[in-house]
Chain length 165, copies 2
DNA sequence: TTGATTGGTTGCATTATGAAACCAGGTAGC
DNA sequence: GCTACCTGGTTTCATAATGCAACCAATCAA
């Protein structure tokens, strides 16, 4: 975990906290972003991120230990190992996309965003990462309900939306 | 930023990095989660998170400064202020959901997840937060393409998917 | 063979965080 | 209106995470 003394989220039952614990730190997400863009070697990550080398070492080891990256023999025959996303790591894609989308809207750089996402099959831009109904229709965030696991889902009649004081 | 000395992501053009910089730390996301669940007062966050009070103070101030929370007069007439998500803050919902979904799959607690998400209008479970084509159809992560902003979108013919060595 | 690159490790300085004590103002009970 | 407790912090101190620079062995390019 970044900067915190001893405190760990791993005892928490909440999946959000557990995800954050396993991913490790902000740097980890940027490492994963670069891995999704094709970075495979220590040097790639270091050049792209401008991260201190000892910190990069720590983060890469943590991601390998966490099953998000695999350390594999280089594809090109080099004696240096490479880092490769596991399925667990590739499944972080929606998180990366959601962060990117939010940043494009609320924290964009004066020069605009640096990356754009598209559909490889059609060439179209991606539609927004957004909660969907069972039929795939995008839904308003206010229509997303949360409840403790195992409790019955409130019926729509008894649950007239979020109060907005 | 959590634990890091001086380094800031705010100069980076990447929207992911800029989002992470603005959100602040892991704690911030859990604070936002609680705010989405209805927490409004200092004490709510402290009880729910078990966070040190000085750290909570810092994080809340940072979220207010970042425009993610507003400090508002209490709705019930109390002299103590309350914290309320702004639109910018509510738009973090998809990130929270994506993190929750990943944790449910890859980092679940032995007792199972603590929360479930549903559609307030229909009572159905939410479908997965996932990249979608323009028509709303869910797409494989491997079909998500990334390119530097401003460059032309590669045509599907010339872009036969991610190589998977 | 020589020099540069890669992938680290080590040591030190600085910052973020945790824990506990403390405190002023608000609130509740009576 | 008095008192005790609650709320929302601040302060102090110890520790962990990070940055930076120097160093190093192994690899690779010429």
């Amino acid at each position: 975990m970044a900067g915190m003394k001893t405190k760990s989220f791993s005892d928490m039952q909440c999946s959000i906290a557990r995800s954050l614990e396993l991913v490790g730190s902000w740097w980890s997400l940027l490492i994963i972003r670069d891995a999704m863009m094709g970075a495979r070697r220590f040097k790639h990550f270091q050049n792209s991120l401008g991260i201190a080398k000892n910190t990069l070492t720590t983060r890469l080891n943590q991601l390998v230990d966490g099953g998000i990256l695999d350390r594999v023999a280089a594809a090109d025959g080099s004696a240096y190992d490479e880092y490769q996303l596991t399925q667990k790591g590739r499944d972080l894609g929606p998180i990366i996309l959601a962060l990117s989308q939010w940043g494009d809207k609320w924290a964009v750089h004066p020069d605009g965003p640096s990356f754009e996402y598209f559909d490889r099959k059609t060439g179209d831009d991606l539609s927004a990462i957004w909660p969907r109904r069972a039929n795939g229709e995008a839904m308003a965030l206010g229509d997303v309900g949360v409840k403790p696991a195992g409790t019955p889902t409130p019926t729509p009649e008894l649950n007239p939306g979020r109060t907005q004081k």
